[in-house]
Symmetry: C2
Subunit: 337 residues, 2 copies
């Protein structure tokens, strides 16, 4: 990472020169050239949630998470290397993470206060700003795919609860009994947290951001929310602009953390805005919100810009994450470096 | 308006000078002084929806709308003149508009495809960025007040459907039978639109933005959505950052129009962002989104900035709206000037 850090310092210095000497510019096209120099044909970044405390994971569990993240990366790489679309990449990689009970999304979703698994997801196409989302579904095996259908098959962006379920029926997506989402560990955790009369601090949300060979960005996010959350609570994951945003002119972002804080600051959209409006680099944009606007412990973001630069930025001890690009980068991590 | 237009031209010229001569600035504090020169002790702007076609309203109906908007303004003025809070102003004025069957919010909400009135609302406090929202409620007489309770009485921002209903029960807010929301005109319209197999283009959403004597901004929005909308569809009105945003450092905004477009562009938050990040005036920020990012016919916004400047900007033939401030401004309008 030392070489990379030097690169970032240089980027920062160039940006500073640019910012001091120039007038406010309209778009990122006039941003620092260094952003474009390392242009990648494709790039992929994923997360499996921020907020995991270091002492809470056995070595064995850590290996399991890293192995699943690696597998997720490989699913995405195969699509992107063959010239597939970033949107398909986002959907397919998130489906893998939803099917893995390790993550708080799909199969591994946490329980709300009433012992129900309520799932939320969203997806956005940076090429067209098309977007779709679902919130509060309880029988849809892969909410991310339902979110994509909302985007492509309806004039709407967000469908919630029975409306989303009824749409799932019409679209014939795979349904499951609510018991499919039962996992003993999550159930035990609900009981512990109910006894403590608090809400769980899970940040097990999953998300993906990708740039494909066509220059198109896409992002998506999927979650089971917070253990012991109030019935009907919707966090940032299905909120376009808060937990998910993608715009080919700037970046694709997926967030994970205390959803309410990400909604309050419209984090995903604001990152794109500060790149577009102030010419900030992806790293600066991410750090501005994760380390300046949000509070320590709130969570983090993953993001990729139109040049294939990848950023993971978080203010928690760890965030399950992985990154890969056409230049050969391939890494999965849990903790702060 | 000629004097006002000259003022805007001057503001624009000053901004241009500022933009060409200065370096990118951090906050609006360094924005053009002309914004602050007309500083008002308090300011209030309201809307009853954009999108009404000119030939669709009899003179009598027009008078009824204008009378209700005037009454709404007076409710807000009384609170603001006495030094009350912008947040209370937003809530109380929206309650009036929700209770009036003329508007597509509360009592006058339109019907979804299944003949149900599903209501959405949100509110935000610019002083703290605290915010609350509800979506898909069917028995709550005043959704805006429930949104405020979500903000003040829960750790969450958004509660949907049964979760919001159950919270309404716990908070003992006024409930009504779903039949309370039945109005013959809305019902007849649903039947006509179902026959045409289209979705209604109502923009009857209501919203309020206010600055109080303490310098605090607040905004709120409430709606019944679109006639014949899919069950469970949620538009921009309950989405913080899309239909509603307030931040004391910039502005308070409420939007009305094709919700999906306002979500896609995070219009309310983006207006605040472009003021903060590029030093644009409130008018320029509104016009940038309403006339550049959105398409003709999509809708509009009302907004007030921290100096008490008021803006109404829309790309539809009309928008029900009203504005008042401590300097004696008091006006209600429907059409483009």
């Amino acid at each position: 990472m030392t070489h990379r850090q030097r690169g970032l310092l240089l980027t920062g210095a160039l940006l500073l020169l640019f910012a001091c000497g120039g007038t406010p510019s309209e778009g990122p096209a006039s941003g620092p050239a260094s952003d474009a120099r390392n242009r990648q044909d494709w790039a992929l970044v994923i997360h499996g949630g921020a907020g995991v405390p270091r002492d809470s994971l056995s070595d064995e569990r850590q290996r399991a998470y890293l192995a699943s993240l690696e597998q997720a990366l490989r699913i995405g790489i195969e699509i992107l290397e063959q010239g597939g679309r970033s949107l398909d990449t986002v959907e397919q990689v998130i489906r893998h993470l939803e099917d893995d009970p390790l993550f708080n999304a799909g199969k591994g979703a946490v329980f709300n206060h009433d012992g129900v698994n309520e799932l939320d997801a969203s997806i956005m196409d940076g090429a067209t700003l098309a977007c779709g989302a679902v919130a509060g579904v309880t029988t849809v095996k892969n909410p991310i795919s339902l979110a994509r259908l909302v985007m492509e098959q309806t004039p709407h962006v967000l469908l919630v609860r029975e409306g989303a379920e009824s749409f799932a029926g019409a679209m014939q997506v795979e349904r499951v009994e609510p018991s499919y989402f039962f996992t003993q560990g999550r159930w035990d955790r609900l009981q512990r947290i109910k006894q403590a009369a608090s809400e769980g601090g899970e940040r097990g949300t999953v998300g993906v951001a990708a740039l494909d060979r066509h220059g198109d960005l896409a992002a998506g996010t999927s979650t089971g929310g917070l253990t012991n959350k109030m019935f009907g609570r919707v966090g940032d994951s299905p909120i376009i602009g808060a937990g998910t945003y993608a715009d080919n002119t700037t970046c694709a972002v997926s967030a994970s953390g205390k959803g309410e804080e990400f909604i309050r600051h419209s984090v995903a959209r604001s990152m794109a805005a500060v790149m577009e409006m102030r010419g900030l680099s992806l790293q600066e944009a991410a750090d501005r919100f994760v380390h300046q606007k949000l509070q320590p412990g709130d969570g983090g973001v993953i993001a990729v810009d139109r040049f294939g630069n990848i950023v993971t930025s978080f203010n928690t001890p760890g965030m399950f994450r992985g990154a890969a690009d056409a230049g050969g980068r391939f890494e999965v991590r849990i903790w702060q470096d």
